[in-house]
Symmetry: D2
Subunit: 109 residues, 4 copies
């Protein structure tokens, strides 16, 4: 099953690392590879004509895994990028505003 991958990565990096999540990089990569495996599992279910409801159950599992990856990343961002800006006199308004906008996008997705 060759993966025709269309990888468009919008939002080019605007701040060089390391970031709040950098210390846990291996854990995050392991999570993302697991989610990648779940998406390939969905492809196989579609190829093998698995019942729609069983596929939808897997979609919910994949979405939950993505959301918990996002929550973990957000916690590290708040703890480091936002808190450091507050403690070090950085632009905390901007940090809080962009974090809140990211949370709003997650809520709507």
């Amino acid at each position: 099953m060759s993966a025709e991958t269309v990888e468009t990565v919008e939002g080019a990096p605007t701040h060089t690392g390391p970031h709040g999540y950098s210390k846990e990089k291996d854990l995050h990569l392991k999570r993302l590879r697991r989610i990648e495996g779940q998406i390939r599992g969905l492809q196989r279910m579609v190829e093998e004509d698995v019942y729609c409801i069983d596929i939808l159950t897997q979609v919910s599992a994949g979405t939950k895994a993505l959301q918990s990856f996002a929550v973990q990343l957000l916690q590290e961002h708040l703890r480091h990028c936002v808190a450091d800006a507050a403690a070090g006199g950085g632009d905390v308004d901007e940090k809080v505003e962009e974090a809140t906008a990211a949370i709003a996008r997650l809520l709507r997705s």
Copy 2:
């Protein structure tokens, strides 16, 4: 980037196909391969220390893509599996109940 894949597929198929989505199989597979590409894109962003907020933006895009795949599959399920059960005197209560449970899971994920 070797993908250590852990593919656990719960919910073994309970109804043999073809199903509502079978006619659009290629379209669904193309969508899922695109989502797989987005997840690999997230892995690369983490490896390259991209800014947290830019990664979270991509997570929202991936979650939205998964949800719209689910909505498409659900429409085909309602149109065929559920409607056919109603038209053909099948167990429509069971079909509606399992479709509603799948929708509730999607809402909570």
Copy 3:
């Protein structure tokens, strides 16, 4: 605490009842009054300067209650309006399409 109520009800009724939910009207009204009470509870928490996190916990409870009301209504709609259209030769494509659009809106809200 006089409630300055701004009640705008978009989407004027397009199909006269009774509908799938009509038999359970009292149960639905009881649920909605309970949610109304939760929203007034939020107002009181804001007036009494309750801690932000405790208010957010109540918002999640209110959102969950609204979503489960929606899922219940959806189940009755699928079981009656959609299934009856399928069984009685009605326009099932239209019914499935509008139900799917409603599910997509719920997922994005």
Copy 4:
């Protein structure tokens, strides 16, 4: 339409105010009264046998309004309670942890 209100307010206030949102109290109260009006609007739609799909459209509107109230409150909490803890040597770990848990609950609701 007498409102049988069951107002259970879990999570008794744990931190005395004023809080991040206190300056915008009137705006928040106005929003919540509007949401209260939307919930009463839903009750009237059910009483008047309005079509299920039109009711579900209003539920999505009410849920969105609740979520945007939560995002606004969260921004003020991050900007004041979390940032002040970071700047003033308070327990920023605890603040970040409880904010992240609140975000996770909102995502699952």
